[in-house]
């Protein structure tokens, strides 16, 4: 089952309350998204760690339900 953009956004914000989250539906099919996440929590972390914070927020759905989530992260 694909996930709704709102659900992705909500999960990320629950884990990273300071984050600005923008979700784009890349293919218009509710299954291929790009998330841009800007959070002070990323400051000073390498990209791998930044992405891991987001993947953890998604609670194991990444790679399963969410096959196609392109991710861009940065500190404000």
């Amino acid at each position: 089952m694909p996930m709704a953009a709102d659900d992705i956004s909500r999960l990320i914000r629950e884990a990273l309350p300071d984050a600005q989250v923008e979700i784009e539906d890349l293919a218009g099919d509710g299954d291929h998204y790009r998330a841009t996440v800007v959070s002070p929590a990323f400051a000073g972390l390498p990209r791998v760690k930044q992405h891991q914070l987001v993947y953890n927020a998604l609670g194991g759905r990444m790679g399963g339900e969410l096959h196609a989530l392109a991710l861009i992260t940065r500190a404000p």
């Binding site: 990209r47 791998v48 992405h51 990444m62 392109a70 861009i72």
Partner: protein, 110 residues
């Protein structure tokens, strides 16, 4: 479940080559767009790399996710260090960071 023998074998592979790409399919016949993109970036840069087709071994396919604590494939390793997946490699390539990184690690890249 990922057993220690699988993780040990992954460690040997990752540490036994300067550049290792875990991917779906092979560089000549990638079976996923994300894997294809990363292998094309490496080829474009003229970087020699060892590739592992995770579709050939279910233990490795699951084990590599545990090894790196990273949920998706492809995964790029340089000198034993996990660099990231498709998004990170693509971004580093576009900003020129990837070339600088390979230079710093003493790996030939154009």
């Amino acid at each position: 479940m990922t057993d220690t023998a699988t993780l040990e074998s992954i460690r040997n592979t990752v540490e036994g080559h300067d550049v290792v790409l875990y991917m779906k399919g092979t560089p000549l016949f990638p079976q996923c767009g994300f894997s294809s993109l990363v292998s094309r970036v490496l080829q474009h840069m003229g970087v020699e790399y060892h590739s592992v087709n995770v579709l050939e071994d279910m233990d490795v396919r699951e084990g590599i996710k545990v090894y790196s604590d990273w949920p998706t494939i492809p995964q790029l390793y340089v000198k034993g260090e996990f660099i990231g997946g498709c998004d990170i490699v693509k971004e580093m390539f576009e900003t020129g960071e990837l070339k600088a990184f390979f230079d710093e690690k003493g790996i030939e890249a154009a």
